[in-house]
């Protein structure tokens, strides 16, 4: 063979392997409404920036007739590429090759690219589409999963890790996504569960479809396992690219920032929040009135909607917004939204993203179900994560901030850097009605007209305590500001916080109330 022939042979070899499971299997993949692993990588990355590694890796399984089987790429594609010009590591399981099943070499390819991501400090994106462990490889495939989980954990808080579920992801396989930072799911395509419908049917006699057991909607609305929901794969990859445009490449503090741009002008921040604390509004409108270009990407939009978390920019720099959402459950803190907020806060802290907290909540949600679901330990996560966070923490109290909820939402007492309040803020131990009923119980009971007396006492309490000035008088609020001043104040506060350094104690790590 001369040189040209050798090159030609390489190209042919490459082409053959790149077909994965072959035309027929690709056809089947398409018929099931899914894109191929290679199409997915193309959607994720900037045009023609993908560089593949380990194309020619083969399994070395010998049992159960595996010795004669050639599995192209061993069912997974790995490589590096660019997203908006920034490098990322990618792996994509290829369902057309023995159902994307995970054997030991398949896993070694994944851990290899995880190691590259860790060494180069770039995000790692995993596209999951796999029937699970390759049973023929026995404990070898279990070892493979374990190796991946270990790396997921080691990389946590150092590089962003993103899991995209584009097919089945069952059994042990679910735990890699669960250990990563962001899980993306697509309607009718993603399926995640520990034990599938067949096992449930044999053990319990209960019938349920894969979709109802662990489909995209289930995980984005009920379990909270997924962070982003898309209607199709194209939308999903757009979401990933957008998220990557907001979050840093790693946990090394960066100086890079986008140019500052004003929010869209059509939002009048003064008119968003009704003065009556019992009236709802969409807190995302406040975020959009503050953020550069009114651009905001919400994380876990469909889960625990009573709190809103997500990324925007202020003055060109990414911030994490945490905001009570009066539109749902009056914005209370409960088990689910505490989990959601706490994890987001810890992510921001790990990746040096300043946190802007917008407060409007009546407190923690009362109820037997909440108490029994552990609202004490889950609610404690919010206190823990805010207290632990050393990134700039800036709080704006928009309206009601009652009781434990006030403390939890990045109050001065949990070491917020700057706390602002709008004139509509009501910072008090509880709402005026409840407080008056307790404090003036005797007067109300003994009055000739208890209802009249109650009304009078509630009004008195409102007048004296349901405002930001009691807290401001104690220095718990740094400034009472006009809503229209909010962006200006935040820009300034972030600038002042730019050099913030907190020397952490030398403990190994805390014991958060997981």
């Amino acid at each position: 063979m001369n040189k040209n022939e050798k090159i030609e042979a390489l190209l042919q070899k490459r082409q053959a392997v790149m077909l994965g499971g072959g035309e027929k299997a690709i056809q089947k993949q398409k018929e099931s409404g899914k894109l191929t692993a290679r199409e997915r990588i193309d959607l994720l990355l900037d045009k023609e920036t993908f560089n593949e590694y380990d194309l020619f890796v083969q399994h070395d399984a010998r049992d159960f007739g595996m010795a004669d089987k050639v599995l192209n790429g061993d069912g997974v594609i790995i490589g590096t590429g660019l997203v908006e010009g920034k490098p990322v590591c990618v792996f994509a399981q290829d369902f057309t090759v023995v159902g994307g099943s995970l054997g030991y070499r398949h896993a070694m390819k994944i851990t290899k690219i995880q190691d590259v991501a860790m060494t180069m400090k770039v995000p790692c994106i995993g596209i999951n589409d796999s029937g699970g462990a390759r049973i023929q490889e026995g404990v070898g495939s279990l070892a493979g999963y374990g190796d991946i989980f270990y790396r997921n954990t080691q990389a946590s808080g150092i590089i962003p890790q993103i899991s995209v579920i584009l097919g089945p992801c069952a059994g042990g396989a679910v735990y890699s996504p669960a250990l990563t930072d962001y899980v993306f799911v697509v309607d009718n395509i993603s399926k995640m569960f520990i034990t599938g419908p067949e096992v449930i049917k044999t053990v319990l006699g209960e019938e349920i479809s894969q979709e109802d057991l662990g489909g995209a909607r289930v995980h984005s609305e009920i379990t909270g396992n997924a962070h982003f929901f898309a209607h199709n794969e194209e939308e999903c990859f757009k979401q990933i690219r957008k998220l990557l445009s907001f979050i840093p490449q790693n946990n090394i503090p960066e100086t890079e920032q986008n140019p500052s741009e004003n929010p869209a002008l059509n939002i009048d921040i003064n008119s968003i929040v009704p003065i009556d604390p019992t009236k709802p509004y969409d807190v995302r409108d406040v975020i959009k009135a503050i953020a550069d270009k009114s651009d905001f990407i919400e994380v876990m939009e469909r889960f625990a909607k009573n709190i809103v978390v997500g990324y925007g920019r202020i003055g060109g720099k990414t911030v994490g917004f945490v905001a009570n959402q009066p539109l749902y459950l009056a914005g209370v803190l409960d088990v689910d939204c505490s989990d959601k907020a706490a994890r987001f806060i810890r992510y921001c802290d790990a990746f040096n993203i300043p946190i802007v907290t917008l407060v409007d909540l009546p407190g923690y949600l009362p109820g037997i179900d909440q108490e029994h679901a552990g609202v004490i330990r889950h609610g404690a996560k919010v206190l823990y994560s805010y207290s632990e966070a050393t990134v700039p923490k800036i709080t704006v109290i928009l309206r009601k901030a009652y009781g434990g909820g006030y403390i939890a939402m990045s109050s001065r007492h949990l070491n917020a850097d700057f706390v602002y309040a709008w004139p509509t803020a009501e910072i008090a131990v509880m709402g005026p009605q409840g407080a008056a009923n307790i404090i003036f119980r005797k007067e109300i009971a003994e009055a000739e007209n208890p209802d009249e007396m109650r009304k009078q006492k509630v009004a008195e309490y409102k007048e004296r305590f349901a405002n930001p000035y009691v807290a401001a008088a104690k220095g718990y609020v740094d400034a009472v500001i006009e809503p229209a001043e909010t962006r200006k104040m935040l820009l300034h506060a972030l600038l002042v916080c730019r050099n913030k350094v907190v020397i952490k104690s030398d403990k190994k790590h805390g014991i958060p109330p997981f």
Binding site: I222, Y328, D336, P362, P366, D369, Q433, G434, N437
Partner: protein, 103 residues
């Protein structure tokens, strides 16, 4: 406001707001009753050791349930008299399924 509008009261204040799925699905609490013995694990009943009217003591064998590929012998956790037996060998029970009621 949409159709999920709910009456939501915290500390005597009624808020105008919407519900969410998990709030709608929350389980109603019922007073636990240790005379009503429920399965703690999903599985198949293999054998029942007691009959109606039997006097049983704490620690007595009640039944065997096959779950997770193991035969689990379930014992009584209190004394009592068997009032009703709601399962028989071969029955598949889910977690929380009522199996035996004591008087």
């Amino acid at each position: 406001m949409n159709e999920n509008n709910i009456k939501f009261v915290i500390d005597d204040v009624e808020y105008e707001t919407n519900s969410i799925k998990s709030f709608d699905k929350r389980k109603k609490w019922t007073q636990p009753d240790d005379r009503r013995i429920k399965s703690i694990i999903p599985g198949t009943i293999v054998e029942v050791f007691v009959n109606n009217g039997d006097e049983v003591n704490e620690g007595d064998a009640m039944l065997v349930i096959e779950a997770m590929k193991m035969n689990n012998q379930i014992k009584f956790e209190r004394n009592g008299i068997v009032d009703k037996i709601l399962v028989k060998p071969g029955d598949i029970v889910s977690r929380g399924h009522e199996m035996i009621i004591l008087k």
